[in-house]
C-alpha cells in the first residue's frame, strides 16, 4: 500500500481489477464454458433435489388452494392482503437488481457489471416468475385471470383503469417480457460458443437452435450492439416504474401507513436494496463452488456492497421520514398507526426489521467488512430477511387495526401460506440450478471485452 501511494496518476491503485491477472480470451472461454460442458458435479444433484422437493411443496400448496380456496390462508376481515402480496412485493423487488445491473450499468458504461449481469438477469427472470404467481393465485378464481386485461367482451366489463392494480398488470408483464428478451439477446453469442464447443450431438443441436444462426460476423455484432443498447434503454425506465406502480398499490389508497407520498422512491430503493442482497447471496456460493473468483472478484462484491449501503440508507431515510410525518401530520389515525407499528402487538417484527435493514448495513461503512466475503454474505442474508419483514410490517400493521376497533384482528400466516412461500423459494432455486447447469452463468464474450488485451486492440486501431 505504502509504495503505491507514492506514485500518483495511476488509476489502478484506486480500483481493484475487475478480472484477475493472467487471463487471455482462451482461458476465459475455457473456464466459463467448462462449467456447462463438463460432467455434472455431485453437489449439483443434491442441491437440485432439495430445490425440486420444495417445488413439490409449492405444487401441493397450490393444489390445496385450488381445491379449497383462499380460506386456507390466514386472511381475515381487516387483513385481507397477507402473504400473497408480501411475497409478491418481495420477489418483484429482488428482480430489480438484475435490471439495474444489466440496463443502467450498461448505459453508464460500468464494465465491472460484465461478470455479474448474466446471472443477475436470470435471477430477475426467475424472481418475476415467482412474483407473478401470487396475484394470480390470490384471485380466488385464477382461471379468470384474463379479466384483468382490457379485452373487449359482450358484458362490456372493463378493468378499472384508475386502479394501480391494473397498472401492475401492465407493469409486471412488460417487465417480464423485456427482461426475458434482454436476457436471451445477451445469451446469443455465448450460445453459439457452446454450440461450437459441445461434444455431444444433442447439445450441439439444442444450443445451435437457440443461437439463432449466430456466426459472429461483424454485421451480427453490429446488430447485436444496437439491439442491446435499445433494450437497455427500454429496460431502464422499468427499474423505476415497476416498483413505483407496486408502491401505488398501497399509496394510492387512503389507509394510514400506506397513503404516504414518499412510497414511490422508497419502494424503488428498497427493491434495488433487496435485489443486490440477493445477487450477493447467489454470487458468494457460486464463485466458491465453481472457482470463479477470478471473474467475480472482491471489486464486484465491494461495489455491490456499496450499492446496498446506499439504497439501504435511502430505505432508512424512508422509515425516518414516515415516522416524523406521521407525527407532524397531526392526524390521530396516522399517529396511532405509527405507535401501533412500533409499540403494538407486532413490535418485534418492526424491531427485527430495523435490525436487519437499518442497523446491520451500517457495518458496510467499514472497508474491512466490505472486503470480507463471509461478513458480506451475512449482511446480505439480514437484508433478505429484513426486506420481507418490511413488507410484512407495512401491510399487516397498517391493516390489522383499522378505523373500526370492533373489527381489529391479529394476522399470521398458516402452514399453507408458509408452504407457498417456501415453495416459491424452491422454484427460484430450482430454476437457478438449471440455469447454472445448462447456460453460461457469466457472459463469456463480455468478459473477453474487459481483458487488458481488448484495450490494446482498441488503442491499436486509433
Amino acid at each position: 500500500m505504502a509504495k503505491k501511494r507514492t506514485e500518483p496518476d495511476r488509476p489502478i491503485q484506486m480500483r481493484h481489477p475487475i478480472i484477475a491477472e493472467g487471463h487471455t480470451p482462451a482461458t476465459v472461454t475455457d473456464q466459463i464454458s467448462a462449467v456447462v460442458l463438463t460432467k455434472t458435479p455431485r453437489w449439483w444433484y443434491v442441491g437440485f433435489a432439495v430445490a425440486f422437493s420444495l417445488v413439490m411443496v409449492l405444487f401441493m400448496a397450490l393444489a390445496q388452494l385450488f381445491v379449497k380456496g383462499v380460506g386456507i390462508w390466514g386472511l381475515n376481515n381487516p387483513v385481507n392482503w397477507g402473504f400473497a402480496i408480501i411475497n409478491f412485493v418481495w420477489w418483484i423487488g429482488i428482480g430489480h437488481a438484475g435490471t439495474l445491473i444489466s440496463a443502467i450499468l450498461l448505459l453508464l458504461r460500468q464494465n465491472w457489471r460484465n461478470s455479474i449481469n448474466r446471472f443477475a438477469e436470470a435471477m430477475t427472470l426467475f424472481a418475476v416468475a415467482c412474483a407473478g404467481l401470487f396475484p394470480l393465485i390470490h384471485m380466488g378464481r385464477p382461471w379468470r385471470f384474463y379479466y384483468m386485461l382490457p379485452i373487449p367482451n359482450t358484458f362490456d366489463l372493463w378493468p378499472q383503469f384508475r386502479s394501480p392494480l391494473i397498472w401492475d398488470v401492465f407493469a409486471v408483464t412488460t417487465y417480464a417480457l423485456v427482461s426475458a428478451l434482454f436476457w436471451y439477446v445477451g445469451l446469443i453469442p455465448d450460445l453459439a460458443t457452446l454450440r461450437d464447443r459441445a461434444k455431444n450431438k444433442f447439445a450441439q443441436h439444442a444450443y445451435g437452435i437457440l443461437a439463432a444462426g449466430w456466426r459472429g460476423s461483424s454485421r451480427h455484432w453490429h446488430n447485436y450492439e444496437v439491439a442491446s443498447m435499445l433494450l437497455a434503454g427500454l429496460a431502464t425506465p422499468l427499474v423505476v416504474s415497476v416498483h413505483t406502480v407496486v408502491s401505488f398499490d398501497f399509496a394510492a389508497s387512503q389507509l394510514p401507513g400506506w397513503h404516504a407520498t414518499i412510497f414511490p422512491p422508497y419502494f424503488v430503493a428498497g427493491a434495488v436494496f433487496a435485489g443486490f442482497a440477493m445477487v450477493i447471496t447467489l454470487a458468494v456460493p457460486l464463485r466458491a463452488l465453481f472457482g470463479l473468483n477470478d471473474f467475480i472478484t472482491l471489486r464486484h462484491l465491494q461495489n455491490m456492497a456499496k450499492v446496498m449501503l446506499a439504497t439501504g440508507m435511502v430505505v432508512s431515510y424512508g422509515y425516518a421520514i414516515e415516522i416524523f410525518m406521521a407525527w407532524y401530520s397531526g392526524n390521530g389515525f396516522e399517529q396511532f398507526m405509527i405507535t401501533n407499528r412500533i409499540g403494538g402487538p407486532y413490535k418485534y417484527a418492526w424491531f427485527a426489521l430495523i435490525l436487519c435493514n437499518v442497523l446491520s448495513i451500517q457495518l458496510l461503512w467499514f472497508k474491512r467488512v466490505r472486503k470480507s466475503v463471509p461478513m458480506l454474505f451475512v449482511v446480505a442474508m439480514f437484508v433478505n430477511v429484513g426486506m420481507w419483514l418490511e413488507r410484512f410490517v407495512i401491510i399487516v400493521t397498517s391493516l390489522h387495526r383499522d378505523f373500526l376497533p370492533s373489527s381489529w384482528d391479529m394476522y399470521s400466516g398458516t402452514r399453507w401460506d408458509w408452504a407457498t412461500y417456501v415453495g416459491t423459494i424452491g422454484l427460484f432455486l430450482a430454476l437457478m440450478f438449471l440455469f447454472i447447469r445448462f447456460l453460461p452463468m457469466i457472459s463469456i464474450f463480455e468478459m473477453r471485452m474487459i481483458l487488458p488485451e481488448a484495450d490494446e486492440v482498441k488503442e491499436g486501431k486509433k
Binding site: P8, A251, A252, H259, P264, I321, G330
Partner: protein
Amino acid sequence: MTSTTATEARYAPSDFAPPSALAQPQRMAAIVGAVAALACAVGAVLDPAQFFRSYLVGYLYILGFPMGCLALAMLHHVTKGAWGVVIRRILEAATRTLPFMVILFIPVIVGMKELFVWTDPEVLAHDDLIAGKTPYLNVTFFLIRAVIIFGVWGILAFFLNRWSLQQDETGDNRLSLRMQGLSGAGIGLYVLTASFASFDWLMSLDPHWFSSIYGVYFVGGQALTAMAFVIPVALFLSRQAPMDKVFRPSHFQDYGKLMLAFTMLWAYFSLSQFLIIWSGNLPEDVSWYMTRTAGKWLIVAQAIMFLHFGLPFLLLLNTDIKRSARRLSIVAGLILVMRWVDLYWQAAPAMKVAGLHWMDVVMPLALGGLWLWVFFWQLARRPLLPVHEPFLKEALHHE
C-alpha cells in the same frame, strides 16, 4: 488518445490558473445585483410584508445553486465519474459561497413573523392542529435546526474544499479517498438536512399540509438547479484559455445527460406526490393542490408541466443539443427560470399573495447577482482543474 502513461505530460496547478476574463461576468453580476438589491431595499420600506414573501422565494431559489453544487460535488467524489473532474472547481467555488448564504438567511429570520403563520399566538389559540405541532414548529427550535442545517453543510463544504486544495499542493491520492469517504456519509447528511430545511422553510408555510416526499422533491430540485447552473459556467470557461483545451463536446454530452436525469427525477417526485394525493383525495392533502390549480395558478401549474419537464425532456433527448455547449446552455437557462417558477408556485399560494409583485421578479436578480459576484470571486481564487486528481487522464480523454 495517442500517448501512454509513461510519456503523459504532467500538469501543474499553475497551468490552469483562472483567466482574467472572469472579472467581466463578476462585474456584470455585481452591477445587476446591486441595482436590483437597491430596488428591493426601497420595496422593503414601501411594503415590508411583500418584501419578506418575495425574499423567501428568492432565497430558497438561490440556495439551490450552492447546495445543489455541494450535492453534485459529493456525488462526483463517491462515484468517481469522469464527468465531475473538469467541473469540480466550479462546484467547489459555489460551495464556498455558503457563509454568504448564511448572512442572507438573516432577513428570513427577521421576517419570520410575517412569513410563518405558526409564529402567531392568535392562530395557535384558534387552530388546534397547528397548536399540536408547536413542539416542532416553534421559533427556538426552528433556529436551532437552521444552525444545525447550515452547520452540517458548512462542515462538508469546508473539508471538501480544504482537502481539494491540499491535493493541489501535495498530489496525495489519499486525499481523494478521504474526500470519497466524507462524501459518502455527506450525501446522506445533506439529503436529511435539506429535507428538514424544506419542511421548515417551505412546507411549514402551510402548516396544515404535509407530504413525506417533499424533502427529496426539494433535493431533486436543488440538484437540477446546480446542474443547469454549471453548464453555462462551463460554456464560459471553455471559450478561453486554459480550459478551452480541456472541455470537449463529450463532457457537455454527459452534463446534458445528467441534466436530463435530474429533470426526470424531479418530475418523478413531482408526479408521485401529485398522483398519490390526487388518488387519495383526502381534504388535508388535496387542499394544497386545490389552491395551486385554482384560477391563474392553473396556468402556472401547466407551464411547469410543459416547460419544467416536457420541453427540456424532449430537447435533452437530442444528442446534438447535448454536445453543443451553447445550445445546452439555452436549455439550462430555461430550466433555471422554471426552477424559480416552481418554487414560487409552491410558496406563494401558501402566503396568500394577491398576484405577481414586481419584487418577486427583481428579488432573484438581486440575490442571484450578488451571489454570482461572490461565486466568481471564489472561482478566480483557485486553479480551474484539480490536476492531481487520480482519474484526471480518464476525465481529459473522455469520449
